[in-house]
Structures are given as structure tokens and as C-alpha cells.
């Protein structure tokens, strides 16, 4: 969350607190909220603008929270004389996905980086029918390990492959 996000959150929180206080005061017999509504109704105060601004701020916060996905922050770290090079888990997953995509016979793939040090992966596959599974899975392991070694400079020490299923003809047509 950036400073701007925190500032907006603070403004929204203050406005909501003020509104809540007014509502609570009304419940205890104060006419402050009603007086304010009368001023708004009389057109002396542009209350609609205030509500629009508040709604915009709430919308921005909702957008920010929706965008703030849970990102896997683990990374393969390589130390160099000038500092660290961190290759994040989402990057590794994208690379593995691309390495496997080139292999014929695989319909679906799910990747989990189980450990960083040493780099260990779990690949769940759904295969196309009539393919020799042992050869195919061996090819997947070799391709992934070679590709990671070439691209990130670290091969995977463990690549566990789980064949979750074989696609039916109906699924292939879909």
C-alpha cells in the first residue's frame, strides 16, 4: 500500500467516522444531521458533490484492494558483488509453463513451487489420450530442468510430476 493509498484510506475513514457520529447523535435526539440535510435540500451546500467525492474514494479503495492480490513473494536469490538478483516464484511459474507448453500431449498444467532452496516443483498434468505417460513425464522433467538452468541459471533439484487425468475425446473437442 503506497502513501497515496494510505492517505485516501485515512480521508475515507475520517468522513465515515463523522457521518457515523452524526447518525449516533441523531439517535440520541440531536438535530444536527437533520439541520445539515435541510441545508443541503435548500441548495446552500452542495452535499451531492461531497457524496460523489466520497463514493469515488470508496471506489478507488475497492479497486486497489481488488488489485492487491496475494502475491507469492518467495524468490530464488542469487548474490552478486553488486547486490542480489531475486527471481520471484510467479516468474519461475511462467517460465515453467512456457517450457511445458512446447511439449505435445499435454492438455492442462498446474505448477506449484514447493521449495526454493533447493528449487523443487510439483507439476500436475492432464494429458491427451494415447500418449506414453512415462516418456512424456520424463520429457517434461528434462525440459523444465534444462530450461530453468538456461534461463535463470538454477536447475530444479526436484520435479515431481502428478498425472491428474487423461482428457476424453469430448474434452479435447471443447
Amino acid at each position: 500500500m503506497t502513501t497515496l493509498d494510505r492517505l485516501i484510506l485515512l480521508v475515507v475513514a475520517i468522513v465515515l467516522l463523522v457521518i457515523s457520529a452524526f447518525v449516533a447523535m441523531t439517535l440520541f435526539g440531536s438535530s444536527a444531521l437533520i439541520d445539515w440535510l435541510l441545508i443541503v435540500q435548500s441548495g446552500k451546500f452542495d452535499g451531492i458533490l461531497l457524496i460523489v467525492i466520497l463514493l469515488l474514494l470508496v471506489g478507488y479503495l475497492a479497486l486497489m484492494l481488488a488489485n492487491e492480490r496475494k502475491v507469492d513473494e518467495r524468490a530464488v536469490v542469487q548474490q552478486t558483488p553488486l547486490g542480489d538478483v531475486r527471481i520471484t516464484v510467479p516468474t519461475i511459474s511462467e517460465l515453467v509453463n512456457k517450457a511445458v507448453q512446447g511439449i505435445e500431449g499435454i492438455k492442462e498444467l498446474s505448477i506449484t513451487v514447493t521449495e526454493i532452496e533447493p528449487l523443487s516443483l510439483r507439476l500436475e498434468l492432464q494429458l491427451l489420450p494415447d500418449r506414453p505417460i512415462p516418456q512424456l513425464t520424463e520429457m517434461v522433467q528434462a525440459s523444465v530442468s534444462d530450461y530453468l538452468q538456461q534461463t535463470i541459471g538454477v536447475g530444479a533439484s526436484v520435479i515431481n510430476v502428478v498425472v491428474k487425468g487423461v482428457a476424453s475425446q469430448q474434452q479435447i473437442r471443447m
Partner: protein
Amino acid sequence: MADEQRTSLGELKIANEVVGIIAGLAATEIEGVAGMSGGLAGGIAEMLGRKNLSKGVKVEVGEHEAAVDLFIIVNYGTPIPEVARNIQNNVKQAIEGMTGLNVVEVNVHVLGVHFPQPAPEEPPQETPQPRVK
């Protein structure tokens, strides 16, 4: 926060933002870097038309030294350690050359891979049939 240096004629201040921009530009020059990865606020600022040259860069500037963190997206097919090493050297040279600060650390965070979009297939051009034989 700004780096402050004294000269015989007065003070010289270099804002963190400037060091960030130098680092960002030096990093994106390197082959294999698809772009910098900024946060949501940076993205919105760009959508609103403000070009954010220090997007994806975090700098810490002291009196004589600087440390930089770069958050990058790499192009598919590039060897990441080599790209990172080139970035570190180029960023260090650029900052030291332009500001006189000693760069002690350039940490590179690879946050994603950019895959090239396949070029859309052009429909075959039909040669118009002559209307008369």
C-alpha cells in the same frame, strides 16, 4: 529527501526522484528488459498521462552513497542472470557518472516475464477477378 553535496560556491542537492529516473532509464536500456513493474498508484498516474520514469525503482540515497532496488519484467527467452548483471553494471555506471554518488548495491527483482504477442495473421489478399474476359 535529497542527496546534498557542498561545493565552494554552495550546496548541490540531488533529489531521490532524480536518482530513481537515472536508474530506471539505465535499466530499460538493457536488452532483455521488457519494462519496469510499478505499483497501482504508478499505473494510475500513467493512465492519467503522467509518464512515470522512476516506475519500479526504489532508491536510498545517503550523503555519498546510494542503494537501488529495481523491479523488472524480462523478455521471454533471455538469460536472466546475464540481463541482471548488465542492469547492475549499467545502473551503477549511470548513477555514479551523473551524480558522483557511490552506488553500493543494485538489487534486481524479476517480477515477471513478457511473452511476445503473436502477430495477427493477415488475410490473404484476393486478386480481383477481371470483370470481362
